[in-house]
């Protein structure tokens, strides 16, 4: 496999402000890399650095094993789709798509052939003579994609391309981008603040916060073994439950003692955990707390808890309870008999537990 994008020790400062700190990322040909994080985390700046639209302070960026540090955007063999679509308002759709080729001096016959091919691929043949102002949001999105596709670049860059669409269209376009990625086998870097988009699209996710890379991994790695409390909280919806707990270590593993206010503490046993400090934060996904019907092979612990709130959501019902001073969400089947204010038996899937250090926030297991 060829390395398509290789970012080494990248720093970016605006004056005294560090926007990006020591970023190292590598992707192979055909990868779909998603940069995800809250706004202001530096993900868009990183994308602009890859595109060459912003200069980097130190470090290096290579695309297709060529050092790009001082290469201008037009020579980087990239294409980019923007949040606002950035369609040229006075040009027709066709001219929007072919403008880049025209600037590069590509002959008319080639331009038209490529235009036709891309228009067909994106089903925008009927729109070619219109102005961007006459298009709907979804159509503009397609045209912006067309402008990128026609370049046939080494690397596609997407800067929050779906955030201006309504919810339904966003899901449709998400699927379409994923299909496109499959068909073309192209390499892509995609910026979003929406963790669901990240999970569904990526082959590789970079989670960022405050200009620092928090974790790099496949969607399932990020989901099941988050590297720190930030990633645990940010990725997944509803979010991972993060419950403070005391730890007693004995011969048979660890005993987790979770405060329940006026009630007796909840005690769970994790036989596989070792070397935990006296206090930890337990990370457990809502689907790993079930009702009595949850049947997993081993490592199940059951306990009675008081139900605070019941939120039916169709196929599933979310049940909220209070543990360790935190609101904890459990996902149970939709036909549950759970009722707020009543006690109910919950099952905890101990094999899926994450442990975090309360001080550093780092993962312990």
């Amino acid at each position: 496999m060829n390395t398509i994008l290789d970012i080494k020790n990248l720093h970016k400062n605006y004056g005294a402000l560090n926007i990006l700190k020591d970023v190292n990322v590598q992707i192979e040909e055909g990868d779909f890399l998603v940069l995800v994080g809250p706004s202001g985390c530096g993900k868009s700046t990183l994308l602009n650095c890859i595109a060459g639209l912003e200069e980097i302070t130190s470090g290096s960026i290579s695309i297709g094993e060529r050092d790009m540090t001082s290469v201008s955007p037009k020579d980087r063999d990239i294409a980019m789709v923007f949040q606002s679509y950035a369609l040229y308002p006075t040009m027709s759709v066709a001219n929007n798509i072919t403008f880049g080729m025209k600037v590069r001096g590509i002959d008319k016959a080639t331009r038209e052939a490529k235009l036709e091919q891309v228009a067909k691929q994106l089903q925008i043949e009927a729109l070619l003579s219109r102005r961007p102002g006459q298009l709907s949001g979804g159509q503009r999105q397609r045209v912006a994609m067309g402008r990128a596709l026609v370049r046939d670049p080494k690397l596609f860059l997407f800067d929050e391309p779906l955030s201006n669409l309504d919810a339904k269209l966003r899901v449709e376009m998400r699927t379409e981008i994923k299909k496109l990625h499959k068909e073309l086998g192209a390499s892509m870097v995609y910026v979003t603040h929406d963790q669901i988009e990240a999970m569904t699209l990526a082959t590789k996710i970079v989670v960022m916060k405050g200009g620092v890379v928090q974790q790099i991994g496949t969607p399932s790695e990020i989901y099941t073994t988050p590297a720190n409390l930030f990633v645990a909280d940010f990725m997944g919806s509803p979010a991972m439950n993060l419950i403070p707990s005391k730890v007693k270590t004995n011969g048979k593993g660890c005993e987790l003692v979770i405060d329940r206010g006026t009630e007796q503490p909840l005690v769970l046993h994790d036989t596989s955990a070792k070397n935990l400090p006296d206090e930890v934060i337990i990370g457990i996904r809502p689907e790993d707390i079930g009702d009595a019907t949850l049947r997993k092979s081993k490592g199940l612990e059951t306990s009675d808890c008081l139900v605070d709130v019941v939120e039916p959501a169709g196929a599933d019902t979310y049940v909220l309870l209070s543990l360790g001073g935190k609101e904890v969400t459990a996902r149970v089947p939709g036909d549950t008999k759970a009722a707020s204010g009543e006690r109910m038996t919950f099952t905890f899937n101990m094999s899926k537990l994450s442990y975090f250090d309360p001080q550093t926030g780092l993962r312990l297991n």
Partner: protein, 294 residues
């Protein structure tokens, strides 16, 4: 019963209020129109009718003699060739000065709004401040400089001065227009391979028609109506129309011909008035844009 009585009272009250409103608005309209009316009627009267009649009376028999004299015979000091040569002076200085300052302002605004670099904001602030200085403070050194450049008393010199001190405003206009256009547009074009000028010509200029109209009208009005630069940096023969008008009105030779003064004033005002009537919307937009930045 009571209710209908009350509501009819109320409608009567509103009607009276509305009438009062229109009366007040009309009175003010008369106040604003009166000088123009007086100018036009006076310019169409014979001198003896002016001396004997009332200021606001309509002319008894209309004559265009005053217009004829104002255009081609009135004395502006020693020479008596009317306003026409000076009118053409103004035309031939306003056109290049307007075009040049608009073009430079467009490029400047494009750079400041779309190609931000360190210090660009400071440069913009410095230029903006240049719009606000009282020009008296630059009159003396500019007179000296024009002398050194060999442009003293020439139309080219006046063009130069108007371009130099017009750029602040034209840059402001274009900057504020371009700043509202997403910078992603420039980014997209850069990735498409277009350079600085290509992006300007192919993408920004075609978008700019409204602001070009506003800027051209603003600059034209400013330059056509200018008096200070005109009177300071011109000499006999190169004066703009405003200076010539003032000379006609204040020339002490001969009988005071008020009808000629008024005809000359209207002639001098006609181009900008025409622009205002034809493109008032853009004129107002320029006025408000020049004062309310944002």
């Amino acid at each position: 019963m009571d209710k209908t009585y009350n509501s009819s009272m109320k409608t009567a009250q509103t009607v009276i209020l509305r009438i009062g409103l229109y009366v007040i608005l009309s009175v003010f309209a008369l106040y604003f129109l009166m000088p123009l009316f007086v100018m036009v009627t006076t310019s169409l009267k014979h001198l003896d009718e002016i001396r004997s009649g009332s200021l606001i009376a309509l002319p008894r028999d209309i004559t265009f003699d005053a217009w004829q004299i104002a255009w081609s015979q009135a004395c502006t000091g020693i020479k008596c060739e009317g306003l026409s040569p000076y009118f053409w002076n103004s035309v031939s200085l306003a056109i290049p000065a307007v075009l040049l300052s608009t073009f430079i302002g467009a490029l400047n605004g494009y750079v400041i709004a779309q190609w931000r670099f360190k210090g660009a904001d400071i440069i913009f602030a410095l230029m903006l401040f240049g719009c606000f200085i009282p020009f008296q403070v630059v009159l003396l050194p500019m007179a000296k400089l024009l002398g050194i450049m060999g442009l003293a008393g020439s139309i080219q010199g006046l063009i130069f001065v108007h371009v130099v001190y017009g750029i602040g405003f034209t840059t402001l206009f274009f900057r504020n227009y371009y700043v509202s256009i997403s910078q992603e547009l420039t980014k997209a074009a850069k990735i498409d391979g277009a350079g600085f000028f290509r992006i300007f010509w192919s993408i920004f200029l075609p978008l700019s028609l409204p602001i070009i109209v506003v800027t051209v009208i603003w600059q034209f009005t400013q330059i056509w109506n200018d008096f200070l630069f005109g009177v300071s940096f011109s000499q006999a023969g190169t004066q703009p129309v405003t200076v010539a008008l003032n000379n006609i009105v204040n020339s002490t030779t001969g009988v005071k011909a008020y009808n000629v003064d008024m005809a000359a004033a209207i002639i001098a005002a006609l181009p900008t008035l025409l622009v205002y009537i034809l493109a008032g919307k853009y004129f107002i937009r320029g006025l408000t844009a020049g004062s309310v930045k944002g």
